[in-house]
Symmetry: C2
Subunit: 168 residues, 2 copies
């Protein structure tokens, strides 16, 4: 018995991203209730040279869809990164989840040794599928979702860790 | 081919926690160079009702050792949560990693369906081993490591995501 590459990737991304969608719904309601311009939250950062909330959500999306596509050896869907409202972010999450759910276990299972190349500003990063998933894609995905959570928490949104983890 | 429970847990915790140790070394050097009382960083929070840096590291440790022990069906080692300096946090991380590395693959492999119970303030949470690891322990661990990173970044430490991810 063991874990399949599919089980360790797609349902993990989908679950946590669904939790993030619920957190962003609370953030939109909070902005409305407190008469905060939603842009204030969408553009909020934890440091001047850190990325704002909107980019954290976009990169979490990129990380999840990029991982799913690369493990399945299909093209990574391109999204335009033009989200400018909480509704836009909800749509971004929904289309990311729809893409993830379109990948079938048989496309991803067996990808442990698949060559994965990630383009970067410098040299491309090369991995085998399993270390790519466990030591790069999952940590990176959780990093951006947690940072989105932390930005909202820092800006007064009343959420707790169970919003991030979801109900067991 | 597939991923073993051991591969998806212990080396993932050890790697990310080693990266956090390196980040905390940078934080200690930063405090010294800027003549910041280390307690300012150790007690820093992103919101008045969020936990400070020291607790984030302790809980990341608890999450990792608790997951390893529960999957291996051994007692969870108790640490005293009395860390009061960066050196103390380094020692906490080192003993957490030493415990994780003491667990052998054959103790953890095959724990996919093992019953895992997490005590909480309210009702205990019950899981099977695999969803416990993938949908609770890993997200929880990355949450606290990322929050520690975010607290330091918010307080001016010059680190980037590669410090968190480590070199591939």
């Amino acid at each position: 018995m063991s874990i399949s590459m599919y089980q360790a990737s797609i349902p993990v991304f989908v679950r946590t991203f669904s939790n993030l969608a619920a957190i962003l719904k609370k953030a939109a309601a909070y902005a409305e209730a407190k008469k905060i311009d939603p842009r204030v939250l969408l553009d909020a950062r934890l440091a001047p040279d850190m990325l704002p909330l909107t980019r954290q959500v976009q990169i979490a999306s990129d990380s999840a869809k990029g991982c799913g596509a690369r493990l399945a050896a299909v093209d990574v869907p391109k999204f335009e990164d033009n989200e400018a409202s909480f509704d836009d972010l909800q749509a971004r999450i929904a289309k990311t989840i729809a893409f993830l759910n379109s990948l079938r276990p048989e496309q991803i299972d067996g990808s442990e040794d698949r060559e994965v190349t990630i383009p970067t500003r410098d040299q491309p990063m090369k991995f085998k599928g399993q270390p790519f998933l466990l030591h790069f894609a999952l940590p990176n995905f959780f990093f951006h979702v947690t940072t989105a959570y932390a930005i909202l928490r820092h800006n007064g949104l009343d959420i707790g860790k169970m919003d991030y983890l979801g109900q067991p």
